[in-house]
Amino acid sequence: MVTGELATFLSGQIDIHIGTRDASLRPHSARVSAVSVEDDREHVVAFVPALGADAILRDLDANGQAALFVGRPPDNLAYQLKGSFTGARPASGDEREYIEQFWDSFLEAMAVIGFDRSTFRHWPVWPCVAVRIRVTAVFCQTPGPGTGAPVA
């Protein structure tokens, strides 16, 4: 489901948000510090700062429906990944460096469009919850007439 091109795109310098919903279809979202693609190219792991993860974890436990927005700030190239929740765990200490480097690459991308690296540096990145999602569909989210089209 995650093509090689998309996997490369997901390797850094991107803005990521996870969307969920509760039983009354009320949406929730949380900022994601980093994402990784598993070798099977069907599962991704979204690292969500623990401080903002409560609402989405409740939703995911209850119904499993997840959406991920991934967008590259300098050129606005973006995708929407839909999927189902397969589990969550605290991110391990071994993963911390990867997460912090990933977040740093996002700050770098924001600097390209005029946001000083200090703009978002004070936002907590760690500790994180690792949210595992099986990707079931991918859509183009780049702004323009073609937005929303399925990506093969």
Binding site: P27, P73, N76, W123
Partner: protein, 463 residues
């Protein structure tokens, strides 16, 4: 609502992208970025609807939405729980949002594609701070307004007013306004465009802070921020212009892939990388006499109070400019006791060097345009005036002229009503200062001027 919405106005500038989360009726969530969230009133916001997308379809099925915005001054994130109320395709909220988007579209050649389809109005059910997106603790780097220092103090307004009152000519008035905006308010890059000879056109009359000057450049109504302001007769403020342009560029690419053929892009005026722009119409009794534009490389330079104060200032400046135009038309040949206004740029910057003390001035009759030594100088009425002056000097040896004789000269084809002759003469003076300072028009008193040459001039006429 835990936090009053009206305290978050800085967060609605679109400087940092907002996040919109929605959900379809069959329970599939969707999360995306949003170009524009607009404050409507203490209980409502409006979201921009530009493209038919999943979020819009979700809202049609399920009116619940969550928007997250970030205060550009403090970097605090805010979560707004929303319920969709209605879509508006006209009215003040729609027009306010559309103007900003269309101004960006006009820079990108995307008019008609990059546009606001509707302003979607939402009731705000709750506003909560986002715990994982706290305000900055970096107090060593306050943003200009986070410091709490107001830009528009009564003292600064009084100083600007006093400077404007000292101006005795249109030229010194325009320069005084821009110098005052820099000295008293810190706006280092500004320009005034006045109504051009042709309907629906503006001509840059005075600039400050731009090495290239730019006097004489034209903007059509609807083009760029100045043209949009004139067309809409409303102020436009754009924060985070760089991000908006990148967003428009993504749309541009996407549109081309979909087979659209966007219009030719037009260059941004002024700064090469402006990140904030503010344009206010100069209106007198509903008539647009010009536009004042201020730019900055700071992403969030113009706050809501700046926009309101400059808009108010704009009406005062408009009356001052029109009064001066009327005074200069009065044809009383009084000497003018003030020193020439300081030019807003170094004349040597753009001037082409003269060859062996000689200038070749060519009038292209069909296009009514004058080239000096092969370089464009000016067109239309100012070109006809310069040609008349230079011809009279060569033929009759005259150096002194009056505005009145120009008004009576049928060959110049001045409009009977509101000929704006003085404004056109000022434009001609400024262009000569920039492009060939050895040909000068020097005021001798109100309604009189002299043509001074420090070079030989060869006149040529071409079709």
């Amino acid at each position: 609502m835990s936090v009053p919405l009206e305290t978050l106005t800085s967060s609605f500038q679109g400087l940092i992208p907002a996040v919109l989360a929605t959900c379809s009726l069959d329970g599939v969530p969707n999360v995306t970025l949003l170009s524009h969230v607009e404050y409507v009133d203490p209980r409502h916001v409006a979201l921009s609807f530009q493209f038919f997308n999943k979020s819009r379809r979700n809202i049609a099925e399920n009116p619940q939405a969550l928007v997250k915005i970030i205060d550009p001054d403090t970097r605090q994130g805010w979560a707004l729980d929303l319920r969709f109320v209605r879509s508006e395709t006209s009215g003040p909220v729609f027009e306010r949002m559309a103007l900003r988007i269309e101004a960006v579209a006009s820079y990108s050649g995307l008019k008609g594609i990059f546009r606001l389809r509707a302003a979607d109005i939402y009731e705000v059910l709750a506003v909560e701070p986002i715990a994982e997106e706290p305000a900055t603790v970096d107090t060593a780097r306050p943003t200009p307004h986070a410091s709490g220092d107001p830009v528009f103090t009564m003292r600064a307004l009084q100083d600007l007013s006093a400077r404007i009152h000292r101006a005795l000519t249109l030229e010194s008035l325009l320069d005084s306004i821009l110098i005052g905006l820099e000295e008293y308010f810190g706006f280092t890059h500004s320009m005034i465009l006045l109504a051009g000879e042709e309907e629906g056109a503006l001509v840059t009359m005075s600039t400050r802070g731009y090495p290239e000057g730019g006097v004489g450049s034209e903007a059509r109504y609807g083009q760029g921020i100045a043209g949009m302001v004139a067309e809409a007769r409303k102020p436009i403020r754009i924060s985070g212009l760089m991000r908006a342009m990148l967003y428009a560029l993504a749309v541009h690419r996407s549109a081309q892939e979909q087979g659209y053929r966007p219009e030719r892009q037009i260059p941004l005026p002024g700064l090469s990388n402006p990140d904030s722009q503010l344009g206010v119409p100069l209106l007198v009794r509903g008539e647009v006499i010009g536009v004042l534009c201020i730019e900055s490389e700071t992403p969030y330079r113009f706050h809501e109070e700046d926009k309101q104060t400059i808009e108010l200032l704009g009406s005062y400046l408009a009356i001052a400019i029109q009064n001066m135009q009327l005074l200069e038309r009065s044809d009383t040949h009084e000497p003018i006791a003030e020193a020439p206004a300081p030019t807003t740029q170094d004349p040597a910057v753009a001037a082409k060097p003269m060859i062996a003390g000689r200038r070749e001035v060519t009038m292209y009759g069909d296009e009514e345009c004058i080239l000096v030594d092969g370089e464009y100088l000016i067109r239309s009425l100012p070109a006809r005036i310069l040609w008349k002056l230079l011809s009279a000097r060569c033929r009759e040896g005259r150096n002194e002229f009056t505005n009145r004789e120009l008004r009576l000269d049928k060959s110049l084809n001045l409009p009977e009503y509101k000929d704006n002759l003085e404004t056109r003469l000022l434009l001609l003076r400024r262009r000569l200062e920039q492009k060939c300072p050895d040909i000068r028009i020097v005021p001798r008193g109100r309604g009189r001027f002299a043509l001074q040459l420090d070079c030989d001039v060869e006149l040529r006429e071409r079709a």
